[in-house]
Amino acid sequence: MKEALPFIIEKHEGYTVVSLRGELDYHSGKTFDEHVDEIAAGVHVMVDCEGQAHIPKDWLRSVLRIQLTLKKDQKCMRLIKVSSALMNYLKKEGFDTTFKFAKDLREAKVDAGLATKRTLDTEFINPFLTATLHVLKVQAQIDARAGQVQIKKASDSIFGDVSGVIGIVSESFHGSVVITFPEATFLKIVSNMLGETYTEISKDILDGAGELTNMIFGQAKIVLNEKGYGIQTAIPSVVSGKNHSLSAMTKGPVVVVPFESQAGNFFVEICLSD
């Protein structure tokens, strides 16, 4: 039976990840060396060292060859997920200044210019605000206006009766978007969307909050992914209950944007975390 090699090569758009896993022995080191040209084929390389306390010298020579080949093509190599034990070992061997390091794949991609830093800035928030206005206008014929963007403090709570929630998931960050409506606002919006008058929240219209969230997320995702955010498709869910409040599931900052509309007020919350 063929033994599994202690390295995995994964090619992505613009970069290759080489994961070193298990014991880096002499024989597999020779096989690894045979793959150097393939690995250093004109794209940035991230060497994932998770779980490694040391890298044998013959392996280090191959890694160095990757780095030198990439340099000629003006590409870079980063060692990622380097433990303190491995860092100490590399220092001892004099390799700590030879290689470049990054905490994780996300940081390495940012360093290599393959991704931008993900923060809750206007570049990230504005597509959601624009999408909210657009979706309400087109699907419910309702004009809305975004208020002042606020950072939500731990003590702040947004109360509402129906919320649409959708996860923001990408390779290097995650978060969520929550749209919270008071009952009257929600009923007016859904009545406009469906062309019928609804006077109470029922299961027949509840998923309207999910659909609105889905549309807003989808519109914002198009804009953000054009900028390289790599946000993945997600399915929304709905939370209902008189005067409920939702807590963010991530440790990152949360922004709240109050909206005024012809249907009444509502809130959009966006949170993001590494």
Binding site: H134, V135, V138, Q139, V190, M193, L194, G195, D204, I205, D207, G208, G210, E211, N214, M215, F217, G218, Q219, K221, I222, N225, E226, T233, I235
Partner: protein
């Protein structure tokens, strides 16, 4: 444009969106409109009925709209059934994948009655060309 007597299948896991599409289709004059909750139910309905137009959401649990489209196109009996995908996501690689899989038109949410009508007219033209070819 499609004959208003065409048997239409509207597929979406969200009741609200099924209602929106059905309402617009009724406003456009269609009367024989059926609904399905996801790709699996839709596929069962397609095999049991003689649908002349399918309007399906893309992002659904179990069987996505794209998987459903591929099933429809893979079966000789339904391969030429007009198929319109509705989605909140219209990134270029997704559009390309849908076209490759044989979609006739692609509607991006949010959409108005006029934009859906325009897409249906375009899908009809495309299907007519395909059938006469």
């Amino acid at each position: 444009m499609f004959d208003v007597k065409t048997k239409v299948l509207v597929v979406d896991d969200m009741l609200t969106m099924r209602k929106i599409v059905t309402k617009i289709m009724r406003e456009l004059g269609f009367t024989d409109i059926h609904e399905a909750l996801d790709g699996e139910e839709a596929w069962a309905k397609v095999q049991a009925g003689n649908y002349g137009l399918i309007i399906s959401d893309w992002n659904m649990p179990k069987c996505t709209g794209l998987d459903f489209l591929k099933k429809v196109r893979a079966d000789e009996k339904y391969a030429k059934t007009p198929f319109v995908l509705v989605t909140a996501e219209a990134e270029s690689h997704q559009v390309a994948e849908a076209i490759k899989s044989g979609v006739d038109q692609y509607v991006v949410k949010p959409f108005s009655r006029d934009s859906l009508k325009m897409k249906l007219e375009s899908a009809h033209k495309k299907c007519a060309t395909r059938i006469s070819a």
